[in-house]
């Protein structure tokens, strides 16, 4: 009997996973015939969650035999992890499929913002160089103090890259990491007070929503830069926009927003802001790697073997029971 996987895509995204389609039989509520669906809905044990399709109590109620949710993203804020823990459902994410590319992107956004690369490119394409003369001077990257909010697999890779640019690294995390020697700050605000650039790459949870708030951004200061490759809601976006427009923070490189694909219009006019449509992990190799990881997780599940990229729900103290 082929392994049956519930395929849930209630995101706005038209994504397919060709490598998985060959190996598993997908039960798709949007396309399966009613009779097939109703006969299998009660027995399907594993769910593949496409992009940010919500998985909540309502979802889980429909599939009472579910034992495992296989995520296809790094962040799992669209999955009710507390509910999964309550029901004994195991959860896997994308592992490190997107980690290198997200780290590359964060560094790219950082350099772009400080060195005004997008704005300078626009300047040339508008024909302004010959007419207006020199493009305004920008800001040096080398040697800047960088604060990483969230020292997971992406944060570590960002640190390694930025050290080659002479940057010093400090971080905030739920608690200090055993094998990381960079200075640890117990609060993001303290971190922000001691760095020139704040890179946001932590998970979005109930605890970290708006963790970058007005106080943190004021602590970062007028010359401070924010780079966000985590989730839009990690930052109080309304406050950030106000501060950017008023010049109370130095600039921002943003790949994620609170209400994608909506991007606050006020940001469109700013040269010290770089805007990106959530493409931090979007390269073909990472999508291939993602599929390999999901296949490994699904096959391990059916073979009763340890899952490849399981999230430790028990250790997540921020999950309220």
């Amino acid at each position: 009997m082929a392994s049956i996987v519930l395929y849930l895509n209630n995101s706005a995204k038209d994504i397919t996973f060709p490598l998985l389609e060959d190996r598993f039989q997908f039960l798709n509520p949007n396309t399966s015939s009613d009779s097939l669906f109703s006969s299998l809905a009660g027995t399907v044990r594993i769910l593949l969650c496409v992009a940010n399709s919500p998985v909540n109590s309502e979802t889980l109620d429909k599939y009472p035999s579910l034992e495992c949710v296989v995520g296809s993203t790094t962040g799992l804020n669209h999955i009710d992890l507390a509910e999964c823990r309550r029901r004994g459902i195991r959860v896997t994410n994308a592992g490190d499929a997107f980690a290198d590319d997200a780290a590359d992107y964060a560094v790219g956004l950082l350099i772009e913002t400080l060195r005004r690369i997008s704005a300078a490119d626009r300047f040339v394409r508008a024909g302004s160089w010959a007419v207006k003369g020199q493009f305004p001077l920008s800001y040096k990257v080398w040697g800047k103090r960088v604060g990483i909010a969230g020292m997971g697999s992406i944060g570590r890779r960002i640190s390694k890259r930025l050290q080659a640019f002479g940057c010093s690294i400090a971080y905030n995390s739920r608690k200090p990491k055993a094998n990381i020697s960079f200075p640890f700050y117990a609060s993001v605000q303290e971190l922000a007070s001691n760095v020139d650039i704040l890179v946001v790459c932590c998970a979005l949870t109930n605890e970290t929503r708006h963790i970058i708030n007005r106080d943190v951004m004021k602590a970062l200061g007028k010359e401070g830069i924010i780079v966000n490759i985590g989730r839009g809601s990690l930052i109080d976006e309304k406050e950030m926009v106000k501060l950017l427009v008023k010049g109370e923070i130095g600039g921002a490189g943003l790949d994620v927003f609170e209400n994608e694909p909506v991007v606050p219009r006020e940001l469109h006019a700013l040269d010290n802001v770089v805007l990106s449509p959530h493409r931090g992990g979007a390269v073909p190799e990472s999508l291939l790697r993602l599929q390999e990881i999901m296949i490994a997780n699904i096959e391990a599940f059916f073979a009763n073997k340890p899952l490849l990229s399981e999230i430790e729900l028990e250790s997540l103290s921020w999950i309220l029971s």
Partner: protein, 313 residues
Amino acid sequence: MESIGVLMICPMNSYLEQELDKRFKLFRYWNIPQTQQFLKENSNSIRAVVGNSMAGADAQLIESLPKLEIVSSFSVGLDKIDLNKCKEKGIRVTNTPDVLTEDVADLAIGLMLAVLRRLCECDRYVRKGLWKTGDFKLTTKFTGKSVGIIGLGRIGTAIAKRAEAFDCPISYYSRSEKADTNYKYYPSVIDLASNCQILVVACSLTPETRHIINREVIDALGPKGVLINIGRGPHVDEAELVSALVEGRLGGAGLDVFENEPEAPEELFGLDNVVLLPHVGSGTIETRTAMADLVLGNLEAHFLNKPLLTPVV
């Protein structure tokens, strides 16, 4: 020193200009309508020239300044200065090495990321309101791409160090193989271009390196290859580069310099696989100030008969 005449060739930095004005008798060459006349009348009081990457001191200018003692360039590149003529006449020459190395290397990596990950295009996509119509396409991975560097000097080495942090294998071409490095050496630019995915021009511009990136090199780099130029425009046969990009024979390019600045080839303006910058390699507040201080420091050292800070000749 207020009576010492210093000729500044073009506008380059207001801090430098102000300081030169304070400390010397400053002549602004770009404001002079009749340069022949001006030189006839003032050449005997001009003892220093300050130039940059756009304009410096060619043989003709040097000949017309009989009292010229020093040319202090607001750049590290010396291609706009007739060094042989200066040597012949015992004229000192200084430039601004080291202080701009990091900025230029930072920008080179910034260009690589911008071209491969389409950062500028993504930004345009959002600003045009297109995200609401659908996701932007997938882009090209940077980690692990092979980087070939032409010229393993201060800037080339700094670029290599950064690229290594992204797990990029490094190879290079240089006039001669360097003993103190583990990077792979190729004895020709074509060999280098055939064996890397991102080719960076980081050597100085001399008669030998003019058009070092020609049609053959571009073909060797190929439709998946990316060219990054943070050297000088004339390093690249620009007409060949433009047609290769427009025809899809070259994968992409990140260009900070052009053959005829401030003109950049308009045929490139509509392409999404290029990033075009207005010669901003060292264009940060911090670095331009440091460069200006070097120019001023060299001039003062010369006129006080002290050792020059960063002499070339």
